[in-house]
Symmetry: C2
Subunit: 420 residues, 2 copies
């Protein structure tokens, strides 16, 4: 059994080690980082047995404490998932290095050369739930973007996370990069999370990954700058000018292709002009797929539809449920979305160019889609190759966050003795 | 005497009005915003008498309460300053509109069109001190970037701020844009600031402008995402390979050209190899300019130099004082800067390309300068045309913030019925 990394250290010591590691990482080459990611993947596979044994301990404990099937599914590792985690590290190695990218450059009137270049944040904190795969994913993305990471998972995945971090650190060490680039925050429970959240100056950015409750508490309590991720109450609006067969495909895909994810649709809005035709198409189709509808009066008049309450309009069901309403026009749809959307992803289905243009301009969400499923708001689908999460805040990054979003910038100004 | 804008309204009402105004502003044309900025400038000049009367009230009260000369100077308005404020609004009108700018765009493998475009934040809160000119500056920058602004100045500039906001609102109204795009937060004192800082969901971004104490309290207490601005403990490092005449010019300019600003140098580091030659040049020159030096042993051996305490290395004097040390090599300079810098601006003077390259890579500050005065870290000098402040945090914006930094982005995804 490996030592618990950092198990004997207090938070400030761990954070100081992370800062030292970040200082080294900021100036290492892409080749060195890619080699380390490969070694991390190798060690993860080599440590298959101890990792799966550690995970089995967590799973038995979670079963014993009566955890739900959903949590157990996310917690449980097997050969396939471990192989996927290792492959994820190799995929990140294959992506371009964002560090050093020139964001803008110019020569000023006085001859000063001005360059804005991407640099790592430094130390990134990740607070997440009982999903051991996030441990490797987050470590890989942070390393590639030149950041040291402080990981704080759930108590119920502590054995798994510990074994995974141990393997990743061994991989780093074999290639000569500082093992302290990847560390678990010592301790679990709220006190450990609190130390991370109050570590302004020690930690540069904090990213919570998990459910709405976790994210809300981090946002409320953190003095470290936070990137808020993930809550998705996504809408599909079927416009008067929609191709209704296309609308049906998009609604079904947005709602049912995968229901437990933040980019699944949770609410359907239908223009009054097509309601008589579209409701008899979409209601039975959703119901046959097992979706329970919470509808306004028009929808509730269809068989099997429950009347929606005010809470339904704001609900992120993450399951086979959907709220649904008929709206008098596009502006009413926009108003509804403005009021209830979590500003993650909202889609319009329409054949009308003016309607599409107005919807795109008026809906203030991280992603606004025209004639496409809400399920496309995803770093992988967007071609980013890796994703640390989907930001629903406006500061720094909005929408799927890839490697460039894991960096800050620095101005480099070069002169020949320039003074003012 | 005009009504106090928002004086009868509670904070949530004011914030809701700002949200409505922001919704309108987000989709108005550049031409409409530029016309409004012109009208705001006109009204500011037309309201010269009531504004100067209101300002005189504030100045008399501040004098009565024994405020220092520095505060009074910043508080006091005159014809020239008012003309400058109006010209500032016209200058902002002349700048490109950041809203709608395409940040990146591509067509995905499946034919989906992906565009990332700049959009306004929505509602921006500004917390600042007794500087009435900031009222107009911030309102202009926020309007041009499509944001509604909630302004919370100091109690000691309440009459001035109220009169200025009234004029700006009248200018907006004459061109048909919502006057509520520019509002004062009702009330003053800590309670009013607190409402603004806890208004997550109502206010999108909060920018404190002022001294270190103000900024620290906003950062600690705000649940609204904050952009931290301004504290500058800036260093000039004179390398072994420096042209010492150039180094002298840069040190003198960085320290003495203007001392009360965040990009003034506060600390001087000199490579040991040139100390014997450079100290006899720089110490008398600084002293003749009235600068009190707080030096290490080497500097303190020169006449008139006080021994530096640990506090001196971290001090932002904002006046005619400077800490100074001799370092054994470039790495020691980098270590010193890492430890004490506020990560605003740090400069190297050197003729060595490897030294410049190492310093630029290793110093993690918003701006790193080579052979140029620290005073160049400024939105105006960088050619941004307008500046809301200089960010010293890593999230979202770092360094001088112009109009593009006052926006978020949105992904617009367009398909032909795409599903996953």
């Amino acid at each position: 059994m490996p030592d618990l990394p950092g198990g004997d250290a207090d938070f400030r010591v761990v954070a100081a080690r992370a800062r030292d590691a970040a200082t080294t990482l900021a100036v290492v080459t892409r080749a060195a980082k890619d080699a380390a990611l490969g070694a991390m993947a190798d060690r993860l596979l080599a440590a298959r047995d101890p990792i799966l044994r550690a995970n089995a301990e967590d799973v038995v404990a979670a079963e014993g404490s009566g955890s739900g099937a959903h949590l157990l599914d996310r917690l449980r590792l097997d050969d396939d998932r471990l192989t996927g985690m290792a492959q994820g590290l190799r995929d990140v190695a294959a992506l371009p290095d964002p560090v050093g990218e020139l964001v803008r450059g110019s020569t000023l009137a006085n001859g000063l050369q001005l360059q804005q270049v991407r640099v790592p944040f430094g130390v990134v904190g990740i607070i997440y739930e009982a999903r051991p795969n996030v441990t490797a994913d987050a470590a890989g993305i942070c390393l590639k973007s030149g950041n040291a990471v402080l990981l704080r998972g759930s108590s119920s995945s502590l054995h798994s996370d510990t074994a995974i971090v141990e393997a990743l650190r061994q991989g780093l060490a074999t290639t000569g990069l500082p093992a302290d680039a990847v560390q678990l925050v010592p301790g679990r429970g709220h006190a450990a999370a609190n130390e991370l959240m109050r570590a302004r100056g020690l930690v540069d950015v904090l990213i919570p990954r998990g459910g709405a409750g976790l994210i809300r508490s981090v946002v409320e309590e953190s003095t470290v700058p936070v990137i808020e991720t993930g809550v998705g109450n996504c809408h599909v609006y079927v416009d008067a000018a929609a191709d209704l067969e296309m609308a049906l495909r998009i609604v079904m895909n947005s709602k049912t292709q995968r229901t437990s994810v933040c980019n699944a649709a949770e609410s359907l809005l239908v223009h009054e002009a097509v309601a008589d035709e579209f409701l008899p198409m979409v209601v039975p189709a959703l119901q046959q797929a097992g979706v329970l509808l919470h509808g306004d009066d028009r929808f509730a008049a269809c068989g099997g539809v429950q009347p929606a309450t005010e809470d339904d309009w704001g609900a992120e069901y993450l399951g086979l449920e959907m709220s649904a309403a008929v709206v008098p026009d596009l502006e009413a749809a926009v108003d509804h979305i403005r009021r209830y959307s979590s500003h993650h992803t909202d889609a319009i289905v329409t054949g009308s160019q003016p309607a599409a243009r107005r919807f795109v301009a008026a809906v203030d969400s991280a992603a606004v889609l025209v004639n496409a499923s809400t399920r496309f708001t995803d770093g992988g689908e967007f071609g980013f190759g890796a994703e640390i999460g989907i930001s629903t805040q406006k500061l720094h990054a909005r929408g799927p966050m890839g490697l460039p979003e894991m960096t800050a910038t620095k101005y480099v100004v070069t002169g020949d003795g320039h003074i003012r």
